[in-house]
């Protein structure tokens, strides 16, 4: 379905990548490939992670307003990171222990998000507005706790958290690229294999049970996948509040279908265009006068307001 539209999107993404690699470059390819290539790969991974996690979360939450970042997933990750820096120290950590901390934070995020959001999502009476409020309250709580910790720790160590706490696209932590690529591609592969089940889950609890699915178990599985995707993308580029909402809403406009097979592809392509294309235009053409995160949050915030004002209609 929508093969032509998907081809157009893929072409757009190809052009964006080409532009990102070539515009304003002066060195040869042996310099460009490792230098810009790794950052391009990181941006593409983040694009896939953010769009996939948003689609997955919206399917199990059964509405199009909530996204992992609105529900406070990335704030929770930053809180866990802050606590670990507080307890273990940050600035002096070697590379291996930085990796260990990432893995421990990831594990904790999975446990905490299944505990918190699992109980929230598995209640019989689903109420979008209450979920939204809970998410906003939780996200604020996590952020306040993080900043409390920030005040308590050594300023040098705080810099570790500070770098992680703001969205950034021009300086990307590429140290974890290999591991992150494996994690993201693995999770996206699992999500792709689940696409038919996701179609069924989107019909609602009763219909899913009637068709022989187990919504309870799937919800927990999907929450784990979302937690991994959010942790990796937050570790890469920091929290980007409205990117997921923006690209998934666009994907629903471009490919209006309930089929997750199509939506996963189209939203990833759109996210790639938004990140790579946006970064190319801002960094290379406009000379980085505005950070991309600001622009994306501005547009995404508008989409969020429109969706809320239109009502919680699915």
């Amino acid at each position: 379905m929508f093969a032509r539209r998907l081809t157009f999107l893929a072409a757009g993404l190809g052009l964006s990548c080409l532009g990102y690699m070539t515009i304003g470059s002066r060195g040869g390819w042996d310099f460009l490939l490792p230098f810009r290539g790794t950052r391009l790969a990181a941006l593409l991974l983040v694009a896939v992670a953010v769009s996939t996690s948003t689609i997955l979360f919206q399917t199990i939450a059964r509405n199009r307003i909530l996204t992992p970042s609105i529900m406070g997933f990335d704030a929770l990750y930053l809180l866990i990171l802050s606590v670990s820096v507080f307890l273990l120290g940050g600035a002096g950590l070697s590379e291996t222990s930085a990796l260990a901390r990432f893995l421990v934070s990831l594990g904790l995020l999975i446990v905490a998000s299944v505990g918190l959001f699992g109980t929230l999502l598995l209640q019989r009476r689903e109420d979008v507005m209450r979920m939204l409020l809970t998410g906003v309250v939780l996200a604020t709580l996590f952020r306040s706790l993080s900043s409390l910790i920030a005040r308590m720790i050594d300023p040098n160590e705080y810099s570790t958290i500070q770098v992680a706490s703001y969205a950034r696209f021009s300086r990307i932590e590429t140290d974890l690229l290999g591991l992150s690529a494996v994690l993201i591609l693995g999770v996206v592969g699992i999500a792709w294999r689940m696409r038919h089940r996701l179609d069924i889950l989107a019909l609602g609890r009763d219909a899913a049970i009637n068709l022989g699915e187990n919504p309870r178990r799937r919800t927990i599985e999907v929450l784990i996948l979302v937690a991994v995707l959010v942790a990796v993308s937050t570790a890469f580029v920091g929290p980007i509040a409205f990117l997921g909402l923006l690209v998934v809403s666009l994907a629903h406009l471009v490919t209006p279908t309930g089929s997750h097979g199509t939506l996963l592809v189209s939203s990833s392509l759109i996210a790639g265009i938004a990140l790579v294309g946006g970064q190319t235009v801002l960094e290379r053409v406009l000379g980085l006068s505005t950070p991309l995160a600001v622009l994306i949050d501005l547009l995404g915030g508008l989409v969020f307001l429109i969706l809320v004002l239109k009502g919680a209609r699915r």
Partner: protein
């Protein structure tokens, strides 16, 4: 045959079903009739494992509900809930197609497609197959949902007030269709009805719950009435 043994269930804190023993015969239409709040829908949702009963046991042929794999039961028994929450942007054909999911798990074969168009034709939805659900009237949507349940091709069909939103002509043709499913295809139909006229005209068995012996009371148990 659906066999219900000593089934009790609470909604919130109030006891809705109280130690029910009941056998629903195979290959026939059984109507559940009774006032609002008598526990008819609860009984159906327990049979279809949408809820877990407080105590008691339900068997559908040799399958014990709750113990057998849920996807095995999905090929044996289908339910049309009273107020199904369904994604409104689906087209009728897509919705009915989901009914085949228990059989093909996401990869429809030509046979699945044939069953889907059979179900669409059976419910006379041919002209509407590519319309999206939110452009349909309440009655048309009801028929689309029923087509999905029929396409699931199960021995047992549980229908919770399928006559909602249907006018008299559509109600009669739906009940006639249920009789055909039962007589020509050997399906077992359990249907919650409000109108005792339809029940007397079309159902083989009626399970009544009256104020003097409601579904919930042990004394009344349930009355199985042959038509």
């Amino acid at each position: 045959m659906i066999r219900i043994t000593d089934l009790s269930h609470n909604l919130g804190t109030s006891r809705v079903l109280h130690g029910i023993d009941l056998t629903i015969p195979k290959g026939q239409i059984t109507a559940l009739i009774g006032p609002n709040g008598a526990g008819k829908s609860t009984l159906l949702s327990l049979i279809a494992r949408l809820d877990t009963p407080l105590s008691g046991r339900i068997d559908v042929d040799e399958l014990q509900v709750g113990a057998c794999p849920t996807d095995v039961l999905a090929r044996r028994l289908a339910i049309l809930p009273q107020t199904p929450e369904i994604a409104p942007r689906l087209s009728v054909a897509e919705l009915v197609g989901f009914g085949r999911y228990p059989h093909h798990k996401g990869r429809p074969t030509p046979e699945d497609r044939a069953r889907v168009s059979d179900a669409i034709a059976l419910l006379s939805l041919d002209g509407l197959a590519h319309r999206s659900l939110d452009t349909l009237s309440g009655g048309q949507r009801q028929r689309a949902l029923l087509a999905m349940t029929v396409a699931q091709d199960t021995d047992y069909l549980l229908l919770d007030e399928p006559l909602n939103n249907l006018d008299i002509a559509a109600s009669r043709s739906l009940m006639t269709l249920l009789r055909r499913l039962c007589e020509d295809f050997g399906r077992t139909v359990v249907v919650v009805l409000h109108d005792i006229n339809y029940a007397s005209r079309y159902a083989d068995w009626k399970i009544l719950s009256t104020p003097s012996c409601p579904l919930g009371s042990r004394a009344g148990a349930m009355q199985l009435v042959w038509r």
